[in-house]
């Protein structure tokens, strides 16, 4: 349910950006959401599309979501690998559990396309 507050925060910051840039409309916005970010993408997109209607500057904005897979780097052998599991895995190459999470927690607004 917190997807709604996050979508609202995104819309507010887009409104601010549009005002600052003197834009008529926001056409597109791209976000990166990691599989470990705790966000349900469907709920987030639903909330974004429901709430954007309230603003004439935002109502046509298309939300593009890039889902980022979970990627670890093994601190022992340097091997990088992706996994679907949220549990601490072992390195498939050397079996070590000494791993560093390098991708998967992203919650980032990448860019926006404005009509100026």
């Amino acid at each position: 349910m917190h997807e709604t507050s996050i979508a609202m925060g995104l819309l507010n910051s887009l409104e601010e950006l549009a005002r600052k840039e003197g834009a008529k409309r926001v056409l597109k916005v791209k976000v990166k959401i990691g599989k470990l970010s705790g966000i349900v993408i469907d709920s987030f997109v639903f909330a974004f599309n429901a709430l954007k209607e309230q603003s004439p500057r935002l109502k046509d904005a298309e939300l593009i979501v890039e889902e980022v897979p979970i990627t670890y780097r093994c601190k022992e052998c340097g091997h990088r690998f992706q996994t679907e599991s949220v549990f601490f895995p072992e390195c498939p190459k050397c079996g070590s559990a000494n791993l560093e999470l390098i991708r998967g927690e992203e919650l980032e607004v990448v860019n926006a396309e404005l009509e100026v």
């Binding site: 349910m1 507050s5 995104l10 840039e21 470990l36 549990f87 607004v109 926006a112 009509e115």
Partner: protein, 248 residues
């Protein structure tokens, strides 16, 4: 120059208005950047005041408030305790902890399923006004919910996730984010272990496989079992924090 027909006219004479009207802006900011900014501000307040801040996260009914009541009873002689009580509605939890001798401010979110840093900021100022100064330990009791609160950093030093024995052993696996982002995990209502199929070791191992750094406690607020370790952990964390602040 125009290279469509080679007429030699300047290129921009033929530009279609739609193309020129678009502008790409790089943002590269966290979706939660506003919350994180306020959370960092909260942390600055708390570091300046030397307050240890504990953010308690669990489902509704797992015993956050009851554990807090016992914790206050055991700490209030030596330490000043402040509580920010997050709930969707009512002042009930703030009243409960006040009766035990802590200062408390109720934060009602009016429907929101988690606390965010700006509301906590407002609550902290109301609390210090009420107390005439800062507490030694500030407990933030988040809205009962094992999902959403884990996405919102409030500026806390220690995030504690709780599950109670009746909730069942599968909670860490089902709610990994709460366990991955916490530093401590409390299993509550252990006096009920004889009545439930709840394997403490299995739950501990599952939680540790999500987060090997988790410090785990098993407590019963009712019988008092395990409370001493929990209280010592809090005192130790306060000592650690104040020592670290002196060095800066």
């Amino acid at each position: 120059m125009c290279d469509v027909c080679g007429c030699g006219q300047p290129e921009n004479l033929f530009k279609v208005s739609d193309d020129t009207a678009k502008k790409n802006v790089e943002i590269k900011k966290s979706l939660l950047s506003k919350n994180e900014q306020v959370a960092r501000h909260n942390k600055e307040h708390w570091d300046r005041d030397g307050v240890l801040v504990i953010n308690l996260i669990s489902s509704p009914g797992s015993g956050k408030t009851t554990l807090l009541e016992r914790t206050i009873e055991l700490l209030k002689k030596e330490l000043k305790i402040g509580v920010l009580e997050g709930d969707i509605e009512t002042e009930r939890d703030a009243e409960r902890v006040r009766r035990k001798g802590a200062a408390a401010v109720q934060l009602t979110t009016g429907g929101a399923c988690h606390l965010e840093a700006p509301l906590v900021h407002k609550g902290y100022h109301a609390l210090t006004k009420q107390m005439g100064g800062a507490p030694d330990i500030l407990f933030i009791e988040n809205v009962g919910n094992l999902v959403c609160p884990s996405s919102f950093y409030l500026g806390e030093d220690v995030r504690v996730v709780l599950i109670s024995v009746p909730e069942g052993e599968d909670k860490p696996a089902k709610y990994p984010k709460a366990f991955k982002t916490s530093q401590a995990f409390v299993i509550t209502k252990t006096d009920l272990l004889p009545y439930f199929d709840f394997n403490v070791e299995k739950v501990k191992n599952e939680a540790l496989s999500l987060n090997p750094q988790l410090k785990i406690f098993t407590v019963s607020a009712k019988s008092g079992e395990g409370l001493e370790e929990w209280i010592n952990f809090l005192k130790e964390k306060l000592k650690e924090k104040r020592k670290a602040l002196q060095k800066v």
